[in-house]
Subunit: 239 residues, 2 copies
DNA sequence: AAGTGGTCTAGACCACGTC
DNA sequence: ACGTGGTCTAGACCACTTC
């Protein structure tokens, strides 16, 4: 008579404990966690069990481990965040990093489609960021970003937003993006595209509709990017 | 004085042994491998070590494991291969499965760009497959597929190619695709696009340039897909 | 009941980085 | 020399499947 209706392995519980402590900011980005031995003793489990947890969080890119040094909170540094979630490249090769063109930030009430995508309450507010980014100095991307305002209080007061917003989210607001869902399509350039990124009206643009999810599972950012498609590709490896 | 110039952990060597046996077809797709205990004994390592290897191959989707039953060679069934490497969907939701429109297969000498992409010798031959695929019954995708002919001898004699070629590659030619590199861009529909998938000339199409890599690392397929972009997206989750 | 993968432990030793 | 993560082992027990 073994019912075991809700069997949950020990490492699962330990995983949740560690995640909670990471999310609460017990260790800052770049800082080291206690060693495996110490964590194991502290939580009353064996080294093998805590190891399984730390390895899982490393696979999720929440932690980084260095043999001989320790286990650290992963830093969403500019470069790292860039190469992880920004996937534009030249055909056949070199990954690109965008630089900032112009930007515009405002806080306003959420509209219906935004509430739906971000799963917000009726009276919720959002931060809207619209900006133009350059590739090799040429205007190439239009971005419209919508954030759940409750998580990013005061972001509109930051004058110069960094290149990679995800490192800002982590450093200033404690929001770690771990997953994004993207939908790509091809569309024709509009008059606005022409004005902002200089493409001819009716030329092809790649449109990326992205929903970003943070560590304690929550949808926090909706981003629409329109990218000029001349001599430029979205590069991805599936495994 | 410990030089350890080429230190390689035991599980690495075991991994290569198991991969070799899988590639040589010692077990057929769907068939069970020996149990962990038996494999461990056979290879002279502990259960923990063989376990690490089998878990890695499971992560690579080469094996599938079922508690209480055993470890099996993963089958690239139609549905599975579809959902793994075919990423078209309706906006906001439902993944789609294509069906076959028309197809055309021929074997010919490799051209220069094909030799370069597939890393083929000067005198190599390739299989060229061009086909049109339907989504919900409507012509939607033009595919041009180029294969290294030496691995797929006789494929041109197969009259009706299956929906997912990757399951065919595995079942009939022992080629297991494990990775693909894709480059996406937006382009304008050509006269050929109009003829074959019915889009207006000058409307936007999503172009996917894919290079597929099989298990003992080798580039085996180059595929160019042109997809109509009305009410259709390429859906992907980044982690 | 028997066999499989999944979990968990305790302990040993190794490679790496730092002091 | 020391502490860290990385590897490897041996053994126990658990949950799941099949007979």
């Amino acid at each position: 008579m073994n019912e075991t209706p809700g069997f949950r392995p020990l490492y699962r519980q330990v995983y949740e404990i560690v995640v909670r402590r990471v999310v609460q900011g017990e260790w800052r980005p770049g800082e080291a966690l206690p060693s495996e031995q110490n964590l194991a003793r502290e939580l009353g489990v064996s080294q093998g069990t805590i190891r399984k947890v730390l390895d899982a969080l490393t696979a999720e890119k929440v932690l980084v481990r260095h043999q001989g040094k320790g286990t650290f909170i992963a830093e969403n540094t500019q470069e790292r965040a860039q190469f992880r979630f920004f996937r534009m490249a030249r055909p056949g090769g070199k990954r690109l990093s965008p630089t900032l063109g112009s930007e515009n930030v405002r806080v306003r009430a959420a509209r219906a489609p935004e509430r739906e995508r971000l799963e917000l309450a009726r009276e919720a507010r959002v931060v809207e960021i619209s900006r133009v980014r350059l590739l090799d100095g040429v205007p190439a991307i239009r971005e419209l970003i919508v954030l759940a305002a409750d998580l990013f209080a005061g972001i509109e007061k930051i004058t110069e937003l960094p290149n990679s917003l995800y490192s800002l989210y982590q450093a200033k607001f404690g929001v770690t993006i771990v997953t994004t869902h993207e939908e790509l399509s091809a569309q024709l350039a509009t008059a606005d595209d022409h004005r902002q990124i200089g493409v001819d009206i009716g030329s092809p643009v790649l449109v990326i509709d992205r929903l970003a999810v943070c560590l304690p599972e929550r949808k926090v950012e909706w981003r629409l990017s329109r990218v000029r498609s001349d001599n430029l590709v979205y590069a991805i490896t599936l495994t």
